[in-house]
Amino acid sequence: MVGNVTDEAERTAASAAARAAGVSVQAGVRATEPEPAAEPGIAVEMRNISLWYGQKQAVGNVSLDVPRNRVTALIGPSGCGKSTLLRCINRMNDLIDGVRIEGEVMIDGANIYAPNTEPSQVRRHVGMVFQKPNPFPKSIYDNVAFGAKINGYTGNMDDLVEESLTKAALWDEVKHELKKSGLALSGGQQQRLCIARAIAVNPEIVLMDEPCSALDPIATQRIEDLMLELANDYTIVVVTHNMQQAARVSHKTAFMLAEDDLVGRLIEFSDTDEIFLNPQDSRTEEYITGRFG
């Protein structure tokens, strides 16, 4: 949002300069591209999130609106707090001793950090896919069914497993060996199994923490295709070290950076094509052009 305002202001200024010079201004780069049909709603609203590991602050006052049914990428150098911020969205940081979080994360109008909020229920609505594929050491079927079982799913389990695996683009490869161990699959298949496992509990939001960093380029491509497809049904937030990946799969990109005080802050948040073609902040520019430091 902030990014857009700045963006608009810049454009107005540029137009003024152009008019002063006696030339007309055509529409900006963005306007020439097809816009999504409808303006998406907000799926996650982070308000002034700060996080401390013990005494050490890791995330500083981040406010960010994640659009619904879009892929939002968090990029930034190592240690910029992007994974930590991601884990604030499903209270995964609660599992670490000595973590303190300030601020609010609003999902469906409710703050997930409000007292009496059950973290396990938050995590059911906000699924997660991790850096290294981590299927349970169980059968493919049980991997997908586990979350549904423990969350009291009463529907037809076989249908749910098939539907989830199909959505994760894995069904055709495993439908004849559902009893096989999830660990017997290839890395890319394991990661898609983890995606199936995440969506089997019918979340609204799926968080992905560098989901392709352990995969080869072809497996990576499949996951990237899947991300865009899943965005039809889910809101996706993905942390990635791979800027090309962020450029390829995301609609919105947030750039985070921890400067001298080592506190990760949000530097710029805007449409992905804006970030990669015309970033407004010089630090964003330095990072994405590889001239960092």
């Binding site: 290294k132 349970f136 059968s139 979350g147 660990l183």
Partner: protein
């Protein structure tokens, strides 16, 4: 510039490989390590050979069926064998749930802090306490039912199997806890995250993922701890496991004796036949120990192989 030199392939004699010297050093190290291994194997072989030579003579079915006797040819091992079995099962049933429970608490629930650290240190130290001390503790707590110099806190169990089992359980509890903790800690955090990630509670995560994954390790640790218990003598002498028991224990409150005590008792006799009987007892004890270790190994392999890792 070094880089230029390397490109030219000339290191100006700065590298002296001395390959043959390095290979000799390696060979010497290998020899030392092999010798270290062989010392243990050779002495074990001697021991087994010696025991077998002395004890094989009495190794027949009657030995396991007879009760102890003043006459070597009629003396047997039955009461000691059954006593050991009763004792070890009692010990296992007490130590396993308590030990695993404590390990789960310490690893999954306890907040990281001073108190937890203190408890942890104490448990590790307990593993090093001499077994006789546990015997004294068992005598007071379970046999007499008092706590040291204070008044009686109940009847106590007398010199019974349950008193012995409880004492043994205390003895091996630190080992079981530490082994279980190690196994639980070895469960990759990514597995827990995966479980929490689909909305599992802490209990569901521990029950469905952590424990099954840690189970082989816990079992191995527990069985190895039990095989230590089965060879223990000192604490049982302390709590008065009888040396002459001419009947099979029928309940937890029966008096009993165990194999090591029976062996000790035979060794203490002057007649040479009893020396040989002791050797036969040692063979039986060793067979039982090795079987337990084999079970531990099999369990580990079987549970570990289930999902093809």
């Amino acid at each position: 510039m070094a880089a230029t030199d390397m490109q030219a392939g000339a290191d100006r004699g700065l590298y002296v490989p001395r390959l043959s010297f390095r290979h000799k050093k390696g060979a010497a190290f290998f020899a030392i390590c092999l010798a270290g291994t062989l010392v243990g194997v050779v002495f074990l072989a001697f021991l087994l050979l010696d025991v077998w030579r002395d004890g094989a003579g009495f190794l027949r079915w009657e030995f396991l069926q007879n009760f102890p006797s003043r006459f070597p040819e009629r003396a047997g091992f039955q009461s000691a064998l059954w006593g050991s079995l009763w004792l070890i099962i009692t010990t296992a049933l007490l130590a396993f749930p308590i030990g695993v429970g404590a390990a789960i608490y310490l690893e999954e629930y306890a907040p990281r802090g001073f108190v937890t650290k203190a408890i942890q240190t104490n448990i590790s130290n307990l593993a090093g306490v001499p077994s006789i001390v546990f015997g004294i503790l068992g005598l007071q707590l379970f046999v007499r039912g008092t706590i040291g110099i204070g008044p009686s806190i109940g009847g106590g169990f007398g010199r019974s199997i349950i008193a012995g089992g409880a004492t043994m359980a205390l003895l091996i509890l630190p080992i079981v806890i530490v082994a279980a903790q190690e196994s639980i800690r070895a469960v990759p955090p990514s597995l827990r995250e995966a479980s929490y990630g689909v909305g599992a509670t802490r209990w569901q995560t521990v029950w469905h993922h952590v424990l099954p994954q840690a189970f082989p390790g816990i079992m191995t640790g527990t069985i190895l701890a039990l095989s230590r218990a089965i060879g223990e003598t000192a604490p049982l002498i302390m709590i008065g496991a009888l040396t002459f028991v001419a009947f099979r224990p029928e309940s937890l409150l029966d008096p009993f004796t165990v194999m090591p005590i029976q062996i000790y008792n035979w060794v203490a006799r002057p007649q040479p036949e009893f020396q040989d009987l002791a050797a036969t007892g040692i063979i039986v004890l060793l067979v039982m120990l090795l079987s337990m270790n084999a079970i531990a190994v099999l369990l580990r392999q079987w549970t570990g192989r289930r999902y093809g890792r």
